[in-house]
Symmetry: D2
Subunit: 314 residues, 4 copies
Amino acid sequence: MHAIGVDIGGTKIAAGVVDEKGQILAQTRVSTEPDDASSIDRAIAEVYRELSKDYEIGAVGLAAAGFVSSDRTSVNFAPNIAWRDYPIAARVGELIGTDVPIVVENDANAAGWAEFRFGVGRDASDMLMLTVGTGLGGAIIVGNQLVRGRWGVAAEVGHMRVVPSGHYCGCGHEGCWEQYASGSALVRDARAAAIARPREAAHLLDLVDGKADDINGPLVTMAAQSGDPLSIELLAELGRWIGEGAASVAALLDPELIVIGGGVGAAGDLLVKPAREAYGQALPARGHRPEARIDLAALGNEAGIVGAADLARS
Amino acid sequence: MHAIGVDIGGTKIAAGVVDEKGQILAQTRVSTEPDDASSIDRAIAEVYRELSKDYEIGAVGLAAAGFVSSDRTSVNFAPNIAWRDYPIAARVGELIGTDVPIVVENDANAAGWAEFRFGVGRDASDMLMLTVGTGLGGAIIVGNQLVRGRWGVAAEVGHMRVVPSGHYCGCGHEGCWEQYASGSALVRDARAAAIARPREAAHLLDLVDGKADDINGPLVTMAAQSGDPLSIELLAELGRWIGEGAASVAALLDPELIVIGGGVGAAGDLLVKPAREAYGQALPARGHRPEARIDLAALGNEAGIVGAADLARS
Amino acid sequence: MHAIGVDIGGTKIAAGVVDEKGQILAQTRVSTEPDDASSIDRAIAEVYRELSKDYEIGAVGLAAAGFVSSDRTSVNFAPNIAWRDYPIAARVGELIGTDVPIVVENDANAAGWAEFRFGVGRDASDMLMLTVGTGLGGAIIVGNQLVRGRWGVAAEVGHMRVVPSGHYCGCGHEGCWEQYASGSALVRDARAAAIARPREAAHLLDLVDGKADDINGPLVTMAAQSGDPLSIELLAELGRWIGEGAASVAALLDPELIVIGGGVGAAGDLLVKPAREAYGQALPARGHRPEARIDLAALGNEAGIVGAADLARS
Amino acid sequence: MHAIGVDIGGTKIAAGVVDEKGQILAQTRVSTEPDDASSIDRAIAEVYRELSKDYEIGAVGLAAAGFVSSDRTSVNFAPNIAWRDYPIAARVGELIGTDVPIVVENDANAAGWAEFRFGVGRDASDMLMLTVGTGLGGAIIVGNQLVRGRWGVAAEVGHMRVVPSGHYCGCGHEGCWEQYASGSALVRDARAAAIARPREAAHLLDLVDGKADDINGPLVTMAAQSGDPLSIELLAELGRWIGEGAASVAALLDPELIVIGGGVGAAGDLLVKPAREAYGQALPARGHRPEARIDLAALGNEAGIVGAADLARS
């Protein structure tokens, strides 16, 4: 059965027709207004009509950046889009006017599910997906099932606390994992190094004409790949926090695979190797248990579309 | 169908016939030698014969304090019993000589499962069990399923790290949750207070004739219940660590219920209220999501028997 | 002997004639440009001329917000004023044209010295001054001597690290004391509470029409004084960090008096009592040693003038 | 003037005649009973008589492992010797029967003072001494003066808190620096690694026939010197904690020299290099200030004798 997956971002939606092997057969995208929930509904209906012209569609999956209700029909809360207890499946259903099932999923869950079904996790049964981008998102697969939690809010991995009295987080708490294991953390650490360790930061600062505020994640990655010792150290530190946090998750869930996705994954081995090393050193009962693999995500930006479509089918 | 549940401790095994409602119909117990795995096998066979005389038994569940293989036939490693990759189900099967299915489960998982099926969690679908005894054990239920992990080692909740560079743990790591949220932590903190805050500890010290090393958990609980401010503070601190750690687990799993069992649970509200308060304050996205209940376990010491029997049936 | 004390701020200088009892006999103030070091020199010369008309002046003390050279003639670095290895004493001396000795001191040291000589510390020999304002500054008196350090940079108390991997600090490091024990910390914590604990923060939010970004320190203090539980808790938490950090300093220096000055001191007992309690609980070897008093500063904004004048005399 | 320095240990006292250049001209030692304070007095009198036969003695300095009164006449408290508010100078004076001045000093202060006057610190004015042995002791010199504090209890550097909720300390608190920067910390970390990282610990375990409890500090140092990567890492970690803690002290005191003494100093560059690197990275306002040297102590076990004698003279 073919399904449509829709990845709803703040300013645009991307959608595609996805077959049962996770292949995208057709794709489209539309601009939207984050402050106008009904405009998003209409945009989804529009892409549905466009994509369903040439394909028979059995289900529609919507990947939304927010807290999704456990019955997968509504978005209860979203930080960046004007959804508050919003019955998006019903609204889109009215606009579409067919009885094809419409299912909402959290976007990170959708992407993680795609990775699990069709990507690097396709042979795994228990998997932790970590999406290391601006923040730290994720998805959890336990016994081949996506963990949604009682109220659909599971896998907010970035808000596991890793340092008491640690860095402030936008969520109002301190010491959240995402403040240590994300692209934002990398950038802040690089800028802090420019102040506290100007000599070591000289190369990075050269790249931004001395303006520390212009340092960003891709720049640090690039500098690391060209051999800059401080940038290599910063990525290793980021990898260390990923690995150590993942070891805490492993104490709870005993996964066989930990997948690192998101923009920071572009750093490749400079990130993954330190993550693996830290994971091994921090894993409880190491030596008395098999050890999970840590691998980079195999799918790209379309993972949300693919996962939403696949989850809608099942 | 009736099943036998066997709870295997270091020095004795307790067993019972359990019906489908979780009732124990008959019960027995035998002494064993932790250093002699085959003597444990024989003891299990013995209780099986005794209990199966009067009941028709459809399954046998063994609750073992160790790492259980994911196919539920063997104990891969146990800290206190001489099991190393030990095929206990097969060994016991040979001794019993029938083809009744024999299934091994981790003992904390078994106890948690009993609580989930027949205790305070019987109406829940997603639950975190915390067994706060000498250490901190637990069980995790996700979507009505017990989480065993890929290799059977899930729910080692006590080894989630909560303080980087924190207290040493017997597992060789630092900052494990169980070093902050267990009876041992309570006792160590009480003894430390006797040194660092002798005035506030005067009442506790009186109870042990000034010998700080004689302070134990039940004593602190008793003193707290009789109004001793330091003991109340120590239990509240323990509750705080339980609640804050549980909030980290909730970031991952979004449970609807957190159950506090184990000996320290005897402190009741002196422990649970601070745990609830800390949980609420530390919960990510509070106010945008429902909040899990935190309750004391309803079942007693037989939970392991009941849970092992029930898991063997399914 | 009378001396002139000059407190040099970013946008204005305040100066006064100070007698040997620490009394200000005459006072004046002038606006300045932080980006123009020589304009500051001229302004100092101007206030000198004005104040020295009616008094015989034996010394001039300059209190500067920066790193002062150990020979007390220059400012080596200042975060907010255009001084880099700037021989301010010589420059001002040329403009004044007399041979009255001119001495530079760090402004926090000057204020602490005034408190030591004429304020709450006048009977003490070993004192720690903590100036809890936007940041956390301070001064250290050991054996009746101001501790300047080998290169004049001592008493940067706010940058003692209290939490590894803790809050980012503007200095480029993590976990500096001033990120936990300052007015800025209070404000950030209040704003974070508005996000993470909206119910408890309702009163504070009412005071700012729901705009969490408008919460400031005096508001929290006012709310606490009128009984708001969250504000009381926030000040107590701030006091706790002050007390615990001070206990670490006491491990090194064994002071008899810890003085809390700066704007946050306005909270009075709401701040000082928790600080005292935390100090006592965290003090090493408590019970085997006398315990330092913790008191509010007695002098006001003129402390810098008074201290600079007095230090210049000696 | 010649002076006698006496270093009083739990089971023996060592004493010597010291000239004004810090040279020991004659030396002796006697066994004592830690539980019998008066036997210690008599032993001191005995060594005094022996050493004063051939030298004219102008002063006697006693180095005591305890809290010394600020008038330097008594020991107020000692963890390992039966002194409680004990007027040791008067008692010894009665036994000696002359009016040569007798002065008590804390033993770590005495050793640090010797290093300052005659050792690696002889050209310094502001120095931090760290004695890294079983515990972490120290001495602080500010402006050429030994810092004794208001009540004689200064320089308990090992009890500065470096990790909130960190390792338990024998003092009853958590997270004391000495739990991270001492020989005991090194040994505990090595034993923990033997559990958590058995593969990397294989070489260390070989050296103790697999008995992790037999691992000690000199063994780790020896293994590190022969190239064992884990041992090198453990010493580097220890050095890191020394350096980072020292940077916190430097925020307060701005020393020009940090001296590492004690048994662990035998590790040499394997310890000192990581300490220097960590110090530099953690130093506040690095780049805007000169940076203290970190060097190994130059004097050996006689430092206590030499320092006590020299302090008694002044």
